[in-house]
Point group: none
Chain length 208, copies 4
Amino acid sequence: MSAEGQRAGRPRDSRVDASILAATREVLAETGYARLTVDAVAARAGVGKAAIYRRHATKQEMVFAATVHTMELPAPADTGAFITDLAALIDDVLATLGNPVALVTVPGLLAEITSDADLTVRFQQTFMERQRECVRAVLDRAVQRGELDEPPQTDLVHAMLVGPVFAWLFMIRGQSPEVFARDLAARLTSAFTGPSPSSPALVHLKSR
Amino acid sequence: MSAEGQRAGRPRDSRVDASILAATREVLAETGYARLTVDAVAARAGVGKAAIYRRHATKQEMVFAATVHTMELPAPADTGAFITDLAALIDDVLATLGNPVALVTVPGLLAEITSDADLTVRFQQTFMERQRECVRAVLDRAVQRGELDEPPQTDLVHAMLVGPVFAWLFMIRGQSPEVFARDLAARLTSAFTGPSPSSPALVHLKSR
Amino acid sequence: MSAEGQRAGRPRDSRVDASILAATREVLAETGYARLTVDAVAARAGVGKAAIYRRHATKQEMVFAATVHTMELPAPADTGAFITDLAALIDDVLATLGNPVALVTVPGLLAEITSDADLTVRFQQTFMERQRECVRAVLDRAVQRGELDEPPQTDLVHAMLVGPVFAWLFMIRGQSPEVFARDLAARLTSAFTGPSPSSPALVHLKSR
Amino acid sequence: MSAEGQRAGRPRDSRVDASILAATREVLAETGYARLTVDAVAARAGVGKAAIYRRHATKQEMVFAATVHTMELPAPADTGAFITDLAALIDDVLATLGNPVALVTVPGLLAEITSDADLTVRFQQTFMERQRECVRAVLDRAVQRGELDEPPQTDLVHAMLVGPVFAWLFMIRGQSPEVFARDLAARLTSAFTGPSPSSPALVHLKSR
DNA sequence: GTTTAAGCGAGACGGTACGTCCTGTCTTAAC
DNA sequence: GTTAAGACAGGACGTACCGTCTCGCTTAAAC
């Protein structure tokens, strides 16, 4: 008598898992998030809808599972200098958010995440936490190298790094993201290696 | 001498226009974008669905019309210094994106805009163009004051200003946005008044 | 100063009355009752919808007014014999129900009349009463001529005369209504000049 | 060896079929044809609208399916004589058209059938063909008994039998249909057992 | 080698919202 | 005060999608 849930019967077919996720990405690429339907994914995967819902509680979870893992940042390369570390990290973020599938998925997915508390938690604990780690690693290295004396708040750096990339892709819809990425890295380096952030003028401003 | 087709028949009732948009905002505030329905808006506005669809081709257009104009930035105040101008502009952006209605609307609306070419164009020509103007005005003033010698690209500043605010609100979901806004203003000042952006190291990086 | 309801302002344009009714008949002929809309009639008549509703309380009343009067039977000709009087009357009924407009209108109109108490009353008092008069006139003449000794119930004759024509046109959808009309007249003559209606066999049957 | 396409997937639930048709009849009885809505039927049946439209292409088809089969005539009883056979057949017709559900359904249904070519065909091939068979059977029996020498045209008898009943119920709106039915049977017996139908007078009339 | 319990493709199910259409009323400016 | 034009509230239509549920079958592990 085994202690755990005893799993009799036919085990799940891992090829089904894979084909659902692959089909999700294909349908996303073809129709975008807004026009993606579960039936279309099932048909594309050659799979019944029940097989999908046995694995993913909702359509949102399915898309989340199909895309978020492919958007996780790799470990940030140590390039030897803060500025190039930043540039490399920005390039990685751009690669995860700027590829064709992500371009038609990210806004819709973000909207779903925002309106669903469970997804919000998981999004924070996986995708966002991974990004935070990468940012922290780059900052720590810069401190160790002596490029930064006191490291700025991770969340601030995080927002100033991911936010502009997101805005460029989905709001500004600017051209040549590579040029943008290089300029952004340079500006961020200035921002964090420059003079003290809490200028008297701002303190003054706050009191208005 | 009437130039145009002169519109016989009963004219549109502007109170209906207003009550549709107001009801849309109310329903958004109560249920969020994802759970908003056209029937709910019609019922709330005391209006038939036909009156809505006579004015807005789709639900998306209706929400767009109801919210985008309320998110337009005011003219940026001249505070006397670049850093405080930036801080004021950031506060304005925060006010437009961080109010209770915007918090439950912006991600969904951005997703719809992204998946609809018409909305994209209108979004660019209204909301984004207005933001760009404000950014440009602040930069121009800084140049005139001598705080900046050669102004950075407007789009870059735009992305580095709006992007972090957006990321803070909808991705990082960080606390105390006022503190964040002040820190961001300081860092951006450093970023744009600091040393030259095109460092040799980055040129080198690009060739990898 | 007139004594009665004083009718200030512009009087109704009788050409509008006529063009509404004519347009109704045209639209009926083209699309049939089921697909007739008030807007289509208004457009066809070159008239506003208000002008229609000022004259007719509902769509049903409008169609009623446009068609029922054209379906009223003429006074039955005195042909000299019961059988030919019947045949002439049947021909008249066939002409009122079997013309192209009536063919696409009568079933729909009958359905509306059936589901509306007001229309039912008016239908009985105008169209049906007129038919009853015609039937009665033919029967009276036959009695005066000595072709019938005691006249059968008017309503029974009425049903046996109009019913078969209606059934032929809208249920059986039989061919050559002229031949049918002639045969029907002959059979009805037999029916009403034949032996006594209350046969012992039927009294017996009733008790089963 | 299965001959036909073999229907994978979940089969239709026959209880859903039944409950849709039953609910349709109930709603008809309560509100009449004109005020029947598909949503009301779905709600009453405890069924989604999709389940209805999966079975019936339009509201009209649904009502057709729900009612026409219940209006089919039973096999005509052999009562031993033509007159009583006719009376029994008339009673059956009266029972199918004169019950409470039929009274509020038949005119509306007939109107829909008339305006839809598909329904017309199906109506002819089912309901009307069944009636024709019954009429033919009664006539054949009368010929075999020697009560009729040459049988009259089936369609003519059909029209003269169903038409008056229909007219009595929906146009004349006469009282005591049982008395009417008995009188009608007697008159029809005279009509078809009486003298030759093609009188010289009628031939003469035709030439006017 | 069974047995057996779960997985599988297919597709029907209840429910909900969409966007369209029509009715009968109301509002405008023109006459 | 009527006219043509057309906006108005209300409500039904038929479609589409979601997440659940059967159906008859396959399939691997347990016996």
